[in-house]
Every structure is written in C-alpha cells, then in structure tokens.
C-alpha cells in the first residue's frame, strides 16, 4: 500500500528542488512560542514539521534539545498537551506533521492507543530514534493499518545489507542521518555524505530527508539534487532563542 505521506512527498517534490522539514520541541520555550514558530515555518515553506514530545532521557539529542526537553518536562508538559497542540496545528496548517520522540512515550501509552492518538491528532507518522529495526514489528504493523508512516533512520555506519532491511519496513520517507554524533553540531557537507546518499538510494526508492547539523543555505544548496528534503532542527530553535520571531523568520527565509 502506498502511503499518504509518501504520496505527499512525491507530489511536492515535483514543485520544489528541495523540500524542508523543521522541528519544534513541544512546550519549549512555551506552547505560545511554538505556535508562532509554526506560523513562521508555514509562511516560509516548511513541508513537514516534527513535533518532539519531551522525554526525560533524550540520549540521542545534543545540548540544546536536551535543555529544551528537560525544561519542557520540568514545566509539566504532558503527552496529552502535545497531542492537543498537534491537533490544533494539523487543523490550522497545511504542512504535514510527524510525532518525534523516544520509544518510551509510545510504549507507556500502549502502541494501540499511541497510534490512535496520533491519527486523531492529525499526524502523518512518527520518528522514534531509539526504535531499531529488530524491535519495530508490532508498532509498524499497527501503523500500517492506520495509515501512519513509521519513519526509519539510515546512518553512515549502517552496513549496506542492513540499509535494505530498514528500507523494507520504512514508509513515507527515510530520515538520513548525515553524520555520527548527536543533533545540533555542524555537519561538513562532503563527498562522504554524497557516497552515503548513493548507498541509501540503492537500498530504497523512498524520498530521502537529510538531517543532523543542517543549518544554513550552503547546506541546503549542497543537498539540492542529491536528496529530496532538508531537515533543520537545532538551528531554527537557536535562531528563535537568539532573536525571537524576527531572527527565526530571517533564518528560514535565508535557507531557500
């Protein structure tokens, strides 16, 4: 069955040389701030937005997102708050929305309830970086019946054989991790990345979205023609924290 998110990406790809995915940590600095960020992302052509559900142990995130997760958890942001916000956003904006977070959020809710809640809130899928391909069967099977895209990650250290295994269970698009490390530090766009993208393309026909350290126009220019989508996370939060809506607006405009 071809997936709704995949169809959306394929259509959009015909109009754009590089699509854009952005990221918001729910409740950080506040849901009001998040809303204004989403408006700016919408105005500046974001095609997909990841809404990160804060988790107390964000071990795959870099310092800025760790701080954001922690502040949101400390401020009492709940999973229900995130779902409510997601629903409001999916009704208002035309970009697609993905839940991003850690597996325990889904596990603790129960996979059935989690997938129902995402559908109800208007999400197109989810990204759970600590859900490896060996463990994804149950959650992916449920997602399939509900039309949600479980986004899988491919990384430069993933053996080729395993890229195929990942491709076989992925839907919607592939999250291509540009380098080792955590989110938020600068990535040197290089021929190494190009080679890796070529390996990914051999393993899958799904659209490729490249993230981790994508932070400026130079990066997005590099990705044009090599990938389908750029994922900009930490850099946009940093812009917001540095200079609020003005800075974030300028930052997003300059990416194009």
């Amino acid at each position: 069955m071809s997936n709704q998110l995949e169809n959306f990406c394929r259509q959009t790809a015909q109009e754009k040389d590089l699509m854009l995915m952005t990221h918001v940590v729910c409740g950080y600095p506040s849901f009001d701030d998040n809303w204004r960020m989403l408006e700016l992302m919408d105005e500046n052509g974001a095609d997909i937005v990841e809404l990160q559900f804060p988790f107390s142990e964000p071990s795959a995130d870099g310092p800025l997102f760790v701080q954001a997760n922690q502040a949101a958890v400390d401020a009492g942001v709940t999973v229900q708050d995130c779902l409510d916000f997601m629903k409001k956003a999916s009704e208002r904006f035309s970009f697609k929305i993905l839940m991003m977070g850690y597996l325990n959020t889904a596990w603790k809710m129960g996979y059935e309830k989690f997938t129902d809640a995402l559908v109800d809130a208007g999400a197109s899928g989810f990204i759970l970086p600590d859900l490896p391909v060996e463990e994804c069967k149950d959650l992916h099977a449920l997602s399939e019946t509900k039309g949600l895209a479980p986004i899988m990650l491919m990384t430069p250290t993933t053996p080729t054989e395993r890229l195929h295994k990942i491709a076989a269970t992925a839907k919607g698009l592939i999250y291509v991790v540009a380098r080792k490390g955590v989110t938020g530090t600068k990535t040197q766009m290089s021929t190494e990345l190009e080679d890796f993208l070529a390996r990914c393309k051999e393993a899958t026909d799904l659209p490729l979205a490249v993230g981790f350290g994508v932070s400026c126009k130079e990066d997005t220019d590099f990705l044009k023609g090599k990938a389908d989508m750029a994922i900009v996370g930490t850099a946009s939060l940093r812009a917001w924290l540095n200079g609020g809506e003005q800075e974030l607006g300028t930052f997003l405009k300059n990416l194009k």
Binding site: P54, F55, S56, E57, P58, S59, A60, G62, V66, Q67, Q70, V73, T78, V79, Y102, L103, N104, T105, W107, K108, M109, P129, D130, L131, P132, V133, E134, E135, L153, M154, T155, P156, T157, T158, P159, R162, I166, V177, K180, G181, V182
Partner: protein, 415 residues
C-alpha cells in the same frame, strides 16, 4: 539455569526485559563489541588471563569472612561476608572494569568512557586506564560529584578527565545519557565501559560475565571452609552488577535463596526512594537502551529518585534481575537511609567492618532475617565495597561534631 542461552529472535532478552534499543548509528559498534565478547568467551585462555590479572593486580581471591561476633549477638543464622571491599580501588567494580579493559584491547581501541554514580566505577575505570594505557573520560552527575569528592580526586589524579553532568537529575542516569552522546560521536576509537548489569545488550551479559568471579569464588570458599551452602545470599542492587556477580555462584542451587536489597531512601512513596522491585512504584519501560522496570510517571518520564548512597540511586534495574524477580528466583527487599546508618554503626563497632553505604543495604536485610533463623543456618552477604569513600556522608549522617570541627579547620587553611 543458563541465562545467556537466548531463544531464537530473543537475543539479549531475559523474559520480557532487556533488548537493545540504541540509535541506529551505534548498531555497528555494538555488533563489533558483541562479536569481540563472544570470541573472548569461547577462548578458554581469556578467562584465565582475566583471573590471573585479578589475582595479581586486585588481590583476588577476596576472602569470605565469618562474622562470629555479629552471629552470636543476633543469636540466629551464621553470617559470612564476601569481601569485595578488599579489592584494589575498594569495590567489586574493578572486576568488570579489568575485564572490559581486556576487551577494549582486543577491540584495538584507545579511549575509554564510563559513567559513574558513587564514583567507584569511575575510580576503577581510571585505574584500569592508567594501567592499560587508555585515554579515559568519566561522566558523573554534578550531584554525585558533590557527594563523592574523594573519588573524583583520585580519578583526576589517575589521569582521567571527569565531566560533571548538569542535565536532568544530575545523577547516574544523566551520566549514562552523556556517555551515550559521547559514544555516538566517537565510537571508532572509543569503548564505553558501562559499569553495571544494565544498558543495551550485550552490556548486562558482559558485566555479569566478569562479575561472576565473585559468586564462583564465594561458593568454593564456603565449602572449603567447611561451611555448608548458604541458606540465603544477600546483595545490594543499584544497577545489579554485584548482585549478579554473587548470585550467579548459586543460581543452580535451588535451596539457596537469593535476596536483592534496593535503596528504600526515605521509605515508600513516589520520588522518595530508588526501589524498583521491592516497592510497587516502578513499571515496565524502555529507556537508556533497554527494557526493564523503571521509576517513571504515566507519560513515561522518569521520576526523581533518592538514596543516601549514590551507587544505588538509579531509575532502572538490571533486566536480568527484573526477570529473576518475575520468575521468583530472586526476592527483593529495600533498606531505608535510616536503617542503613544504624546498621553501619553496628557493623563498625561489633566487627570492625566498614562497608560502603551501598553494601550496608544488604546487611540491613541480612541482619533482620538472620535473627529469625536457626543457628545451623548460613547467611552470606556480599560486601560490595568499602566505606572510606563515604566518610563525608557518614560523618554527616552521624552528626559527628569533631569531624565538623576538623572540616572547618581544614577549610580555614585554604582561605
């Protein structure tokens, strides 16, 4: 009982617990470690090399001491103690660390990172790194750095770099997160020497493998001493490495009861303790790379924990022990901060033993139960570490005025 003979498709699982929930980027590194460990395990010379190293460098075998005074005082079971406190660096942590050092050499890596709570694992890792020539970085929660300064002092002087982690609760769990972040960035040349029987597969197995030397020795020593097999074996449980170490010596002896003692902190109640199994507050979750019982809220976010002992102050527990509790092979109990201080005072004055605050938890339950047992019964306690490192915490708990005066006078020397 072979815990590590995994069923098809259930590698790294112990009942419903365990597994390997790591970011994809680490897959190759963890596979490399698993292969290296499996090769080493098959090589009979490897275990021999490990044992010789421990004899030569850490003073193994550590003795089993009969506590005549305490046994007579209580009037119940005969109490024996496995003396892991007599290891170099003062705790059982060195067993796992030296073993992982040997693995690191086999992997051809030059850099070691480790988390530490009480600082004992960090201290042992810094020592091993100095001896084996690795570059060493230790992550430690800022709260733990503050309560375990003596260990930080030694780590730094042994040449390790100690990073105080200021995220989250600033304790052991946050140090583990920070290690994962370092590892995903530097895995080519770096081995993560996880310090307890937790974390993603194969860590629970690797750590249990090296710690099994404790139980193997203890069983032989008791029998050689003319004592019978113990009726009960007690060990404190933070992540579960010293408990797994001693329990493995007796897993197949059905009549030997195994009791894990967790940190009861201020007693039952969410956020007041670190008892994941003895108290009913924990639920199954997936975090820090593995599935186990976690002290978490209904959204799956981890709760604050509390214990007087940094080494037991942790949200999760070894998946192996969670499973052994489920199947009824290990029973769990908790000891509160207050009970621990009282028991420490008793042990010091009646036997001249100074167990670590962590280990004292095991004694609390052992003493309670020994009293109600017969004189011909035998209790074995794992004294996982020595209490010198806790002198600041203990002096404070005992409200020792002479110590306070001493500290003030010393402080005056530095103004």
């Amino acid at each position: 009982m072979n815990l590590f003979d995994y069923e098809d498709g259930r590698e790294g699982y112990f009942g419903e617990y365990g597994g390997c929930f790591i970011p994809e980027i680490l897959y190759s590194t963890v596979t490399e470690l698993k292969d290296c460990f499996n090769d080493a395990k098959k090589d009979p010379k490897f275990w021999q090399e490990f044992v010789e190293l421990m004899h030569n460098y850490s003073g193994r075998p550590t003795p089993v001491t009969y506590l005549k005074n305490l046994s007579e005082h209580l009037g119940g079971a005969q109490i024996y103690v496995k003396r892991e406190d007599l290891n170099h660096t003062g705790s059982h942590k060195i067993n796992n660390v030296m073993g992982q050092g040997l693995l690191c050499k086999r992997l051809g890596k030059e850099r070691i990172i480790a988390e530490t709570g009480a600082g004992q694992h960090g201290f042992a890792t810094a020592t091993m790194s100095a001896r084996m020539g690795f570059d060493c970085k230790i992550y430690m929660g800022a709260v733990d750095v503050a309560r375990q300064r003596p260990n930080v002092f030694w780590m730094e002087n042994l040449g390790a770099k100690v990073i105080a982690v200021t995220d989250g609760q600033q304790t052991l769990k946050d140090a583990i997160n920070e290690c994962m972040r370092d590892w995903v960035s530097n895995m080519e040349d770096t081995h993560y020497a996880l310090g307890t029987a937790c974390g993603p597969h194969p860590f629970p197995e690797i750590v249990s493998y090296f710690q099994s030397i404790v139980g193997k020795e203890a069983r032989e020593q008791l029998l050689a001493n003319g004592a019978k097999l113990p009726d009960k074996v007690f060990a404190c449980v933070g992540g579960g490495s010293n408990a797994m170490g001693i329990f493995q010596g007796f897993l197949d002896d059905e009549n030997v009861e195994l009791i894990g003692v967790e940190a009861g902190g201020h007693g039952p109640g969410l956020g007041k303790h670190a008892a994941r199994i003895a108290y009913p507050d924990a639920t199954t979750g997936i975090a820090q790379g593995y599935k186990t019982k976690y002290l978490q809220n209904s959204d799956g976010n981890m709760l604050d924990t509390h214990s007087v002992s940094a080494g037991l102050d942790y949200i999760g527990v070894s998946p192996i022990l969670a499973h052994l509790a489920d199947v009824g092979r290990v029973r769990f109990d908790a000891a509160t901060d207050v009970e621990v201080t009282e028991t420490l005072k008793l042990l010091m004055t009646i036997e001249g033993l100074i167990p670590a605050l962590e280990s004292t938890h095991a004694f609390v339950s052992a003493i309670k139960e020994a009293k109600t047992m017969n004189k011909d019964q035998v209790v074995l306690v794992n004294q996982s570490g020595r209490g010198d490192k806790d002198i600041f915490t203990v002096a404070e708990a005992l409200d020792d005025t002479k110590w306070k005066t001493f500290i003030k006078e010393r402080a005056n020397l530095y103004v």
